[in-house]
Symmetry: C2
Subunit: 218 residues, 2 copies
Amino acid sequence: MPSYKLTYFDACGFGESARMLFHLGGVPYEDVRLPTINAVPGFQSDEFSALKDKTPFGRFTVLSIDGFDLAQSSAIHRYLARKFGYAGKTPEDEAFADSIVDQFNEYYASLHPYRDAVKTGKTMEEVKQIHDKVYIPAKNLMFKILTRILKENKSGFLVGDGLTWADLVVADHLYTLTNLKELDPEDPIHLTLRKFQEKIFNLTELKDYIETRPVTLV
Amino acid sequence: MPSYKLTYFDACGFGESARMLFHLGGVPYEDVRLPTINAVPGFQSDEFSALKDKTPFGRFTVLSIDGFDLAQSSAIHRYLARKFGYAGKTPEDEAFADSIVDQFNEYYASLHPYRDAVKTGKTMEEVKQIHDKVYIPAKNLMFKILTRILKENKSGFLVGDGLTWADLVVADHLYTLTNLKELDPEDPIHLTLRKFQEKIFNLTELKDYIETRPVTLV
């Protein structure tokens, strides 16, 4: 079996779906968790800079597979999903899962101005303005897409009739949004997605991992 | 053989690698090219809005495969690359190609403020400011990554010893940059990448297509 090392921050974010996939595959790996302070814009220790400079594209997440360093979280997740049987059952299902994750990545990238405002110490009012202008419409659009997919697919999973890495990526993010109080329990769309996240986290093959993993806010 | 229909604007951009892959695979498809005016921010005809509303995520590129509509250009390109044998020869090569394209997509997305400034009629001075602040550093970083990969890989391709869809995505963009006069013939890094692009476009299996395809600026 190859030797795997996953390097990411001590957070869920772009590393957690890989960790879940290792659990699902029953495959041991080294889980290197960097202090999250390094992810704050503007902050960089010399040690972190040196680490970063050795990565393929100057950033984390990185998965080392017998010494081959693979960057970019979606490439990592897809690679593990295909190895462990969670990429989708047909080429079309695989492509559909890919497309959902790409759409999610675009949504997530569009939130950068908001995340930066939070991390770089803008005033509460400035943060709220960016939240309303950037976060809310992006979230509404992504949520509309996700609930439509779930409604059309009927299986309770995003793709086909079983778990794929697209479910993991989306459920992980919804859990983070719950922690950040970004889901409104009165909103039927939010409620649908919260139920989807709970269903995924309560799957027999994931439940144990979720209950015993390191606790982080995001 | 499935019936394929690709819908994108009358431009290279996020559709051209799919068109090249169809040519490489020797597989016929319907090449629907929407007027590029619809891609300008703020402009939308009723007809285009109606078309967009029928896409999986409200946007183009879309590939219809026997009526199954697949969105997101990278998901489309990867799907075709795997069908036609241009995804990479090993799981690790496939993942490396994926990671290069994801890095490219992040670079390309980071240019949005510049592209919007050009399209929405900012003054020459404003456009130049955004060009220097956004475009130049993003391009320099991406070019550094690409030239390092080419140097390390030695085959003249980005991944392994043969053509993959990562080469197509990158070469198409470099050709567009040449058209837009964004490559400096005096800069050795730009020259390396220009030579890479010419090598890809001159491959026996692509040359004919490149010479006879519709001519567009971008």
